[in-house]
Every structure is written in structure tokens, then in C-alpha cells.
């Protein structure tokens, strides 16, 4: 398991959509910085900063090739960090889907208060 500060960094790293997109790209295989920067309309230094955050969080590492310095995904760390998020998300999405249904019923009942039945 991650250490405490590591986990904190991991969670913060995952909160950013650009960084999640970078991880999604790396899930398909390692890639050098230039290639990772391509899909985004932000500068390469900005991408490098995102990569530094991901690296510090233990989610990515650098490949052996010193010239290209490709980044690759650390899948195990990502799995640990997202386990809680996924379960939490599933639980609350279920709750709020039921709440959506209830709110629809309440709004329908508000419009026709005298036609409510006990069905």
C-alpha cells in the first residue's frame, strides 16, 4: 500500500483531467514527452509539469532510453489509488440515481397534489 503522503499526492494527481488523459494514453503503451503533449493545446513545459506531478505520485516512471526518456504507466499504483474512488463513486451514483427518480415523483406529485394515490 502507498504511504500516507504518497496517497495524498496520488489522489491530487488524479483530480486533473489533463493528467487523467495522459494516464489513459500511457495505458496503451509508453510514450515520449513530445508525443504526450500532442493532443493538448498547452505548452510542453506545462505537460512536463503534469508529468512531474504524476511521477511524484508514483503513477508513472521513466523508461531506460535516456535519449527519448519515455514515460510509462505504473498500473499497480493506479489500481490502488482508484479502488476507493471507484467504490465510492459506484455507491453514491447508485444513491443519486434513486434520488433522481424520487425527485421526479415529487415534482409530478407537486403538480397534481389531489391525484396522488397509494399505488
Amino acid at each position: 500500500m502507498n504511504s500516507r503522503s504518497q496517497l495524498d499526492q496520488t489522489f491530487a494527481a488524479l483530480a486533473d483531467p489533463t493528467r487523467r488523459a495522459i494516464l489513459a494514453r500511457l495505458a496503451q503503451g509508453e510514450a515520449p514527452v513530445q508525443e504526450l503533449a500532442k493532443p493538448f493545446s498547452i505548452s510542453q513545459p506545462a505537460i512536463s509539469r503534469h508529468l512531474a506531478v504524476l511521477e511524484k505520485a508514483g503513477l508513472i516512471s521513466r523508461g531506460q532510453d535516456a535519449q527519448r526518456r519515455p514515460r510509462r504507466l505504473e498500473a499497480r499504483a493506479l489500481g490502488e489509488a482508484t479502488a476507493w474512488l471507484e467504490s465510492f463513486r459506484a455507491y453514491w451514483e447508485g444513491n443519486y440515481a434513486r434520488l433522481d427518480t424520487l425527485l421526479e415523483e415529487m415534482q409530478a406529485a407537486d403538480k397534481k397534489p389531489r391525484k396522488r394515490t397509494n399505488s
Partner: protein, 163 residues
């Protein structure tokens, strides 16, 4: 325009977890659905196999609430409760929260804010833990917790990651 149907989750500072969710309903109704027991029993944690037979809400500052979920088929139950700290109807509810089998130290301070825009409502929930260690302990998916035991999906995910 408030986006409905999407749950957004993030960390805030080193002690908090924050999530938001938009609803296609006026704020008064969303607030009601969070504070009237007979309505809360319709949606909160009542997934397959689970009911919320104990749902007591004394909605006033210093008032207490108590929820107990039961799974008859598996013969297990899970309880939690706390005390209301701040209430602004229909804008904000702040309360302490503690599970009977808590897996983190201290209470969690739960603040639910309801923002209205047109006929839509944005709910923002802030979970404030006692310290960074408690918050991170929650994020680390506790395998021994009562909560984990109770939530089937959670247990499955944890088992997958433990191997």
C-alpha cells in the same frame, strides 16, 4: 447551467474530500429529500438487499440523527449517526458523522450545500476528517471496515486489488 447526473469527486486541502452532483429539481425538493426520513429511506444506501429501517432525523442545531441499514438475507446491519452543527434551510446542513464500526479516528464533519439555479440544484458535499491521516486512511480503501463488509461491490473491488 448546472450539469445534472454527473458525480464529480476530488480532494481539497489535506483533510477533505469534496464531491458535487446536479439534480433536475428545485432546491426545496432536494433539501426535503435529504431531511425527511420517509424520503431518505427511499434512496440512501437502499441498494439491492438493503433497507433503512431506522432513520431518525432531529433537524435542529444540537439535534441528532441515526441511520441503521439492514440486509435481511445476509443477517447484517450497519449503523451511523451524528449531531447537527449548522442548518440553513434549504441551503446548508452541517453535521458530524460516525459509523458504529468507524475505520478512521474521530468524527467526520459532513457539510452539504444546496445551490439553486433555475429549476436545478447543485449539491456540494464536503467530508472533513480530523486530520490528513484520517482522510488518507479513508482513501486507502479499508478492507476490515464495517462499511467495506457491507457494500458488496466495494468488497469485490478490494479483493481484486488485494491479490
Amino acid at each position: 447551467m448546472i450539469e445534472t447526473g454527473v458525480l464529480k469527486i476530488g480532494a481539497q486541502g489535506d483533510k477533505e474530500i469534496v464531491y458535487t452532483r446536479g439534480f433536475a429539481a428545485p432546491r426545496g425538493l432536494v433539501f426535503e429529500a435529504h431531511t425527511k426520513p420517509e424520503l431518505v429511506q427511499r434512496w440512501l444506501g437502499v441498494r439491492a438487499g438493503w433497507t433503512l429501517p431506522v432513520c431518525e432525523i432531529d433537524l435542529r442545531v444540537g439535534g441528532k440523527y441515526r441511520f441503521v441499514w439492514k440486509n435481511e438475507a445476509r443477517g447484517i446491519e450497519m449503523g451511523m449517526g451524528g449531531e447537527y452543527v449548522k442548518i440553513i434551510t434549504p441551503e446548508l446542513i452541517s453535521c458530524t458523522e460516525r459509523f458504529d464500526q468507524a475505520w478512521y479516528p474521530g468524527d467526520c464533519l459532513v457539510t452539504q450545500e444546496f445551490f439553486e439555479e433555475g429549476e436545478r440544484t447543485l449539491l456540494k458535499v464536503t467530508l472533513g476528517y480530523e486530520n490528513a491521516a484520517a482522510r488518507d486512511g479513508v482513501l486507502a480503501s479499508p478492507m476490515e471496515s464495517g462499511l467495506a463488509e457491507s457494500y458488496d461491490e466495494l468488497a469485490r473491488i478490494l479483493e481484486a486489488h488485494a491479490s
